[in-house]
Symmetry: C2
Subunit: 346 residues, 2 copies
Amino acid sequence: MNSELNNIPHKRYNILTGEWILVSPHRTKRPWQGKTEENKSHKKETYDPSCYLCPGNTRASGETNPDYKEPYSFINDFSSLLPDSPEINFQEGLLKAESERGICKVVCFSPDHSHTLPLMEVEDITRVVQTWKKEYLELGAEEDINYVQIFENKGAIMGCSNPHPHGQIWSQSSIPTEILKKSSKFREYWEQHKKSILSDYLEQELEAGERILDENEHFVSLIPYWAVWPFEAMIIPKRHLQHIGQLNEAEEEAYAEIIKKLTIKYDNLFETFFPYSSGIHQIPTDGKDYPEWHFHMSFYPPLLRSATVKKFMVGYEMFAGPQRDITAEQAAARLNDLSPIHYSLQ
Amino acid sequence: MNSELNNIPHKRYNILTGEWILVSPHRTKRPWQGKTEENKSHKKETYDPSCYLCPGNTRASGETNPDYKEPYSFINDFSSLLPDSPEINFQEGLLKAESERGICKVVCFSPDHSHTLPLMEVEDITRVVQTWKKEYLELGAEEDINYVQIFENKGAIMGCSNPHPHGQIWSQSSIPTEILKKSSKFREYWEQHKKSILSDYLEQELEAGERILDENEHFVSLIPYWAVWPFEAMIIPKRHLQHIGQLNEAEEEAYAEIIKKLTIKYDNLFETFFPYSSGIHQIPTDGKDYPEWHFHMSFYPPLLRSATVKKFMVGYEMFAGPQRDITAEQAAARLNDLSPIHYSLQ
Ligand SMILES: O=P(O)(O)O[C@H]1O[C@H](CO)[C@@H](O)[C@H](O)[C@H]1O
Ligand SMILES: O=P(O)(O)O[C@H]1O[C@H](CO)[C@@H](O)[C@H](O)[C@H]1O
């Protein structure tokens, strides 16, 4: 259906941000003489005495981790945001600054140092989902917290400094840029159609089929039409939910299952522990109603050609706008061709 | 003046994009156990027989470079955009794509393979400025070209695959996202004040002094109040010019001089060939009037703590918004403390 786009430079519209992405599918033949990354999939021990996230170990702050058996969350020892910053409202001519309060947490997904999401059991990932849910609701209930960003930086190439399976949660008083963009697009569509734009998008994608990665009773994973990163993917709940706090038990498990399957495909693509940053976008916790919002999770993986050659978002991308080489359909086909069994277990 | 902000997490407002940046100055004490970059400043030969940008050498396309003595520009052999793509206007429900035409060029700054901007003579950098000017005017005059993005990716860490001193120009039919954002902010201010927001900003910065890096008769370089990258800098012409095509001879030279001085400071910071992406933002070439626009050049360097530890723009930054650790004032003070003579010549 989009096959005429497979050889032609074009741009695609992101319905959630209102921004365009430049696609140059003819350019994949370009040779690569540039930087390659070191990206070995180290065999890891289940416990590392020098890891500050393993159970029972002492962290930089001097605190000792409990002997946890399930996902474990704690306040980040080097929090970017603090709950009790003094109030500042600075404006002097064209200079404008405001204080920002927040709470930053770390979530260990598993006590086992050697684990990663694709290698965990669905029931253990379900516990991670439940931890995210609990944190979202608890942090969101704090007076000064109006937005909760759950994310994972996976792999050294994504700035992750510790291979122990973990993610982060930064919660804060103001609503960040990316959420404001999406809010306005969700609202625009809602006002016209009284429906979630993502529900309609999902329906259209399921019919088209060519960008779908996986589907279960409650969730779909796909390469969005407007994907920026080479193998960017999105997980969308079929039910129109504003936030993960609304997930029922069956949905928690279905969510865990689709995460596992997606991340196995990722690892299988270049037979490596596939790096990415993932994040959940959901409604602000400022107490307002956001009937238009539909929560979703995105994965932004940097690798393009192999385990060691990534896509650089640099000059043109920083100054003009995002650019990609392979199309969303090509990325979906590549992932769909792979075995559903993790390469390390084959 | 902004010293109370030096220890307090806060956000700063970017007057050119309308977006906020999170600043966490208290977090610089964080230890770093993560990825370090290989970033050696290789001693280079003035001519490399295997370099596809050196004079007289043959490129991947089979073409041979002339024996150029001055900056040399040519059509990119792997252009992301092509001048003659067929017209496409695809819309099907929520999927939207359009064709995009363009011309991509490479600009070799010097025939000397071992050069970089900070090591070139001011008069040779002036020739680079004149080449940018000529390309901007010529490409901009093409019927289908409505925007011209001049940029440089410097260093392997910024996706640059060849150390020969060079930059790129991607020109295209539509106006990219970052330019649209700035256009609307320039216009907003112009309508209220009948002045360039950057002229007023420059005046305020020169008075404050604490973020100024350098000043000559025609240009100022500074760390913008809302800088995102640790040592992000901006070069602004004192005269309210919409684009580099309007530079007079004295301004061309002053521009070259301030580029040289800034990039020397950069190299001296960690005694390395300091990587960055730089770009010039100026008016679209769609023939419309943009009296509000004030051209400027920005440098986005990734290094944070040393020649090998960079700032990662990952999870939080991708899903919520930009975040930095040191303040703009701290970055300016660090650069201003350094010698104005390139470390390799000291
Ligand atoms: O054109 P180059 O130098 O091969 O490519 C580099 O710059 C381009 C423009 O910023 C990016 O799209 C590429 O990811 C990067 O590797
Ligand atoms: O908090 P960490 O894991 O030390 O830090 C990592 O994630 C943060 C949030 O995306 C980024 O600001 C840092 O640049 C990155 O290194």
